[in-house]
Structure formats: C-alpha cells, structure tokens
C-alpha cells in the first residue's frame, strides 16, 4: 500500500466515544488536561460530548458527571489550535443543543443517524450548515447495508448541507475490503468538495488496518482515540496510527512522541478497565453490535446471570441499532425468565 505524501486530518474521540468506556464520568480537569495536551501535540480536531451525543444525558445511556455545556465551556477556551467538535444524534439531541454547542465555541457538528435513516437529519444538518459550521453527516453501523445504500443516504445528507460524510463502523465489524468498498464509492460519487471520513472500532483488531484502507480509498478524515479510549475495544488507537502513518509518509501534523505521552501518561491511568479486545468486545465485532452496548451487557450479566456474550449475539441477530441500550436489560430479563433464573 502506498500512501506516501497523502494528508489526513485526525480526529480524537477520547472525550466523546471515551465517555462510554468511562460511563460518562470523565472529570472537567481530566477533559481539560487531555484536550490541552492533545492540542499541544498538534491534534487538529477533538470531539467533546456525552458518549451518545449532545443531550445524551439520560437514565438510558447514563447521567454524566457534567453537562455537555460544562465540558465544552471548560475545554474550548483552552484550545490554541485544535478545533472542537460535538456529536448530535437526532431523536436524542435537538437543534437547541446544537445552538448551545455553537455558542460554546464548537466549530464542527457531526450529525449521526443510523445508516438507513439519514432523512431524520435534515433540520440539524441544515441548521449547522446555515450557521457556517463544519457540518458532518455521520452514517452509523455502516456495515449493515451495501455501499450503494450508504451512498444514497450520504447524498441526502450532502443535499441538506453536509460538507463531509463519514462511513462509521460503530460495531467494529468491518474488514478492510468492506471499508474500501464504502469509502471508495463515496469518494467516486460525491462532489470533490465533500470530504470523506472513517470512524472505526477495534473490536476485531482492525482499527489500524481499516483506517489505512479508508485513506487509500479516498478518506481524508480519520477518527480514533488516544490510547483507544472508546466504546467496545475502543477506537483506532491514535498514537499507534500516528506511528504507522509516519512510517508510511502520510502527513498528520501530530507530534508522535507527544501523542504517545498523552496516551501513556494521561489517558491510560484514568481508564476504569483495560480497553482491549476481550471476549465481550470481540463478540461486538463478531456479531455486528453497537460498541457502547458492552458495559450494559456486562452489567446485565452480573445482575441476571445471563452471559454478556449470549445477550450481545442475540441483539445482533435481532438487528438492534445504535441507541437501543434499553433492550439489553429487557432481553436479559426475558432470557433469565426463560431459563427459570427469576
């Protein structure tokens, strides 16, 4: 693979996707110190939001230690160069949250829908574009449908005003060829002015390989997180990815040693559990299940004595999508009843 001379924009997820792994309990001090150190290392974009996006504060996904507004107000003013982004899932957050984020100094909005439901994003993408923000359409669980379907949905988002489209491997299910097919088609068919991005999860250990495939196929923005702090087995670990890109001659503008130090000195010490491809994280990738279901399934296992793996496999079989965390306890209860455990 020859990526020599290509430029990519890296986008760190540790203060958004990482919220899942921390059950949304990252402190303001932690958020500021990590973001500041990443800014210092040259990370161009950093996402800061509840794991389930703006307005994600809920019993269903978890009450956070601080509101989106508190995190954003603490982090944004401290940035010298890095741009701060916020995620928004229509159906959870609203345009009111979007305006709040803009007022906090967020410059990039990523509007996320399930990969077949892009038409719920019209009002949010439209408003972000109208406010001259960097406006990203983020198609989740992109492994579930064909590249052609992803393109159809991407065109809707571009029509609403998105200037960048992501194919998002929320389940960490894709293999490099799956990434190549989706990103390649998006790059070939969308206008050249529309950027293409890829967001991976490391559940099958493919975070780096998939991200490289995405760059080769035409993606210019790649998500990952420092030390991989993210849902499931985490996102593409950015310090590793930076080293690989450096070896391959891809320009990122990120200082490798500095980002290695952020990972080792700041992010790893605050992890509640090792972020690795353990049995249950592997099951997410294998069964094609939304990565943030991991800790919920593990809690259900503890509470009801049903294996997290069995729960996750069944959720995959049922075709659950992002945001259906409520179905985990419901399914565990039903399975426990069937087994006569309760």
């Amino acid at each position: 693979m020859n990526l020599q001379g290509k430029k990519v924009t890296l986008h760190d997820m540790s203060l958004r996707d990482g919220m899942h792994a921390k059950q949304h309990q990252i402190s303001l001090d932690e958020a500021v110190s990590i973001a500041t150190a990443m800014d210092e290392a040259g990370m161009p974009m950093i996402e800061v939001t509840h794991g389930d996006g703006l307005g994600g504060r809920s019993l269903n996904y978890g009450f956070p230690a601080h509101s989106d507004k508190e995190y954003l107000s603490a982090v944004v003013p401290k940035m010298k160069n890095a741009k701060i982004s916020a995620l928004l899932l229509p159906g959870i957050g609203t345009v009111d949250h979007l305006k709040m984020a803009r007022d906090c100094g967020v410059s990039s909005i990523r509007v996320a829908t399930h990969c077949t439901e892009a038409d719920v994003s019209e009002q949010h993408i439209g408003m972000a574009a109208e406010m001259k923000m960097d406006t990203v359409g983020f198609l989740m669980m992109a492994h579930m449908v064909s590249p052609e379907k992803i393109l159809e949905q991407a065109k809707l988002m571009v029509g609403y005003g998105a200037n960048c489209i992501y194919a998002t491997d929320s389940a960490g299910y894709m293999l490099p060829d799956d990434v190549t097919a989706r990103i390649g088609l998006l790059r070939a068919e969308l206008p050249p002015g529309v950027e293409i991005g890829f967001h991976g999860h490391h559940n099958l250990g493919m975070g780096i390989a998939n991200s490289l495939a995405a760059i080769e196929a035409g993606a210019s923005r790649i998500d990952g997180s420092v030390a991989g702090l993210g849902a499931g087995a985490g996102n593409t670990p950015l310090e590793v990815f930076c080293a690989v890109l450096d070896r391959m001659g891809v320009e990122t503008g990120v200082d490798l040693y500095k980002i290695m130090d952020v990972a080792e000195d700041l992010v790893v010490p605050m992890m509640d559990q090792p972020i690795r491809v353990d049995r249950n994280a592997l099951t997410l990738g294998y069964a094609g299940v939304y990565s943030s279901f991991l800790l919920f399934a593990e809690r259900a296992e503890k509470k009801y004595g049903i294996s997290a793996r069995d729960i996750l496999v069944e959720l995959g079989r049922r075709g659950t999508v992002g945001g259906q965390e409520d179905m985990i306890e419901d399914l565990a209860l039903t399975m426990a009843k069937e087994k006569g455990l309760i």
Binding site: R57, S58, L59, N60, P90, G91, I92, T94, V95, D96, H114, T116, E117, D119, V120, E122, Q123, R318, G319, T320, V321, G322, G323, Q324, D326, M327, E329, D330, L333, T334
Partner: protein, 303 residues
C-alpha cells in the same frame, strides 16, 4: 334517539383510513365525512368504497355540510401547519376537534390519564401528543399517582416503515412535545424523550421503555399494582399493549418495558405506534359521546 356522535375525518392518509376502519366498529361515533385535498387520492377512493361521503376541497368544502349532517366531532390527521385553521373553522360551528397532529393547540390528552377531565370540561380541542407519548405517559402517570416522580424518561423504538416523512423532517418536535407531555400529563417534574428508528426486516413491533426516578424510595408493591392496573386501562382500546418486563426497581429508578402491537386494521400490526394514536383518538371522542349521552356535558346548541 341515536346516541352516536357524527364525525368528520380530515386527512385520508394511512392514519385517517385506519381511524375510519376503527370508527366503523364504534358504538359511539359514526363516521360520515372524509376530507382530503386531492380528488384522485387513494385515501378518498378507499373512503368512498367504505361507504362514507368524501370531500376533496379541504375543510372549507365540508363546512356547509356540518350543521346539516349534524357533525359533532372532527379528527384532524393532516399536519401541524394547517391544523390551527381547521380547528378554528370547525370549532366555530360547534364541532369538537381531536387533533392527531403535533400542533398542540389544545391541551394534551392521554385517555386513561386525563380524558375524563377534558370531557367534563367540554374541551373543544384536545391534542393526542405523539405516538411515543400515548404509549408511555400512562406508565409515568401510573408511577406518579403513587408517589412523586422527580424525573421521567421514555425511549420509543419504532420500525423505520412506520415513520412518515413529516415526523422525519421534524423529529425534534417529537422529542420536545413528548418530553413536555411526560411532565404535564405524566406528572414527572422533569421529562426526557428519545426516539429510535430501527430498519430491521421484518419490521419490529413498537417497543417503549419508561424510566422514572422517584423522589423517595419507591413503594414497590403499590407501584407494581398501579402499573398493572394502568396497562389494563390502555388495553381497553389497544389490546396489544403489553408489559414485557418490569416494573424493575433499582434504587429510586423504576423501569417498565412495553410492547405495542396494533390491531392491524389498515396499518400493519407492527405499527403499534400509529395504532395507539388512532385508537386513543377514537377513545377520546367516544368518551365525549358517552358523557353527552348521559347528560354530564351538553354539546354546543344547534338550531
């Protein structure tokens, strides 16, 4: 004397047609008119085949028939944009308006929670909130009538096929309106609503999760009894309304997991989210008719 109240349905789409089919079985409401804006529309043709009068020139076209045909109730299944005008014109003629749009001109109505009050007060316009609201607010109310609820949250999961373009274009309206009704009707001090659209095939049944945080330690026995009684109340008009799991108690958190299977009249059974709207709207009009028949309320006088 015929006790049935005569009705007009505005909007011959899927909702209007399903409503018509349910209404034809009602002991209290008699469908007389279906109103649309396109003479060629499938919905108006269906209504004609089902034996009711149709009007293809909008609400204005039916106004002259209201008094003559003694129309007493209107169901608006059009859009929030035109509802206010429809309601004003029909209210002027003494027609009670049941609003299935998100306009929310009148007070929210969730039948087992507050319909009786609206009927007694002869509210001339009641709003049916949202599908998610109809499916979940009874459960919030079932907890809050036992003890104060500091926070109520609902998650409505619906099949992609059952969500129309209007809801998709303004999904924020769903979350805002439902959250507002969780507070105003459900009795939670703070409300939150989430909607998830799932494209699985075959389409999944509507699922709803209701979480409440009680202010003090939940009275498990009383809440369980209240929830089960409320499920029975909803089942009177939506027989497929089922408590799948719960109430589950975890500290002050009380959670109910519901499934809503529709009757499968015009809308498919999985579209319990749409069925519960049409069933609740009809139930609402029926109670007005019952109260009028037993003299509890007096309908606007007509010469």
């Amino acid at each position: 004397m015929n006790k049935k109240l005569k009705a007009v349905i505005i909007g011959p789409g899927n909702i209007g047609t399903d409503l018509l089919m349910k209404m034809q079985r009602s002991e209290w409401i008699e469908p007389v008119w279906m109103v649309g804006i396109d003479p060629e529309s499938e919905g108006l043709k269906r209504a004609t085949e089902m034996g009711i009068k149709t009007c293809s020139t909008g609400v204005d076209g039916v106004l002259e028939h209201i008094i003559k045909d003694d129309i007493r109730v209107a169901f608006d299944a059009t859009s929030a944009y035109v509802h206010a005008e429809n309601s004003r014109k029909l209210n002027e003629l003494g027609v009670i308006m049941v609003d299935l749009t998100p306009a929310a001109v009148g007070p929210f109505c969730v039948p087992p929670v507050n319909l009786a009050d609206h009927a007694k007060n002869l509210e001339m316009n009641v709003n049916m909130v949202t599908c998610g609201g109809q499916a979940t607010i009874p459960m919030i109310a079932a907890v809050s009538r036992v003890q104060p609820v500091a926070y109520g949250e609902i998650v409505a999961t619906v099949s992609s096929r059952s969500v129309g373009p209007g809801t998709r274009q303004n999904i924020d309206e769903f979350t805002r309106t439902t959250a507002g009704a969780v507070e105003k009707v459900g009795g939670a001090k703070e409300g939150k609503a989430i909607i998830i659209i799932n494209p699985a095939e075959p389409p999944l049944m509507m699922r709803d999760t209701i979480h409440c945080l009680t202010e003090s330690e939940p009275d498990q026995e009383a809440i369980t009894e209240s929830v089960q009684a409320m499920v029975k109340e909803v089942q009177k008009y939506v027989p497929g309304y089922t408590l799948v799991n719960g109430p589950v108690f975890d500290g002050n958190k009380v959670t109910c997991y519901m499934q809503v299977e529709g009757l499968g009249d015009f809308l498919p059974k999985y579209a319990g989210n749409l069925d519960i709207m049409t069933a609740a709207a009809l139930r609402t009009a029926e109670m007005f008719a019952e109260e009028a028949a037993d003299g509890t309320i007096t309908l606007p006088a007509r010469g």
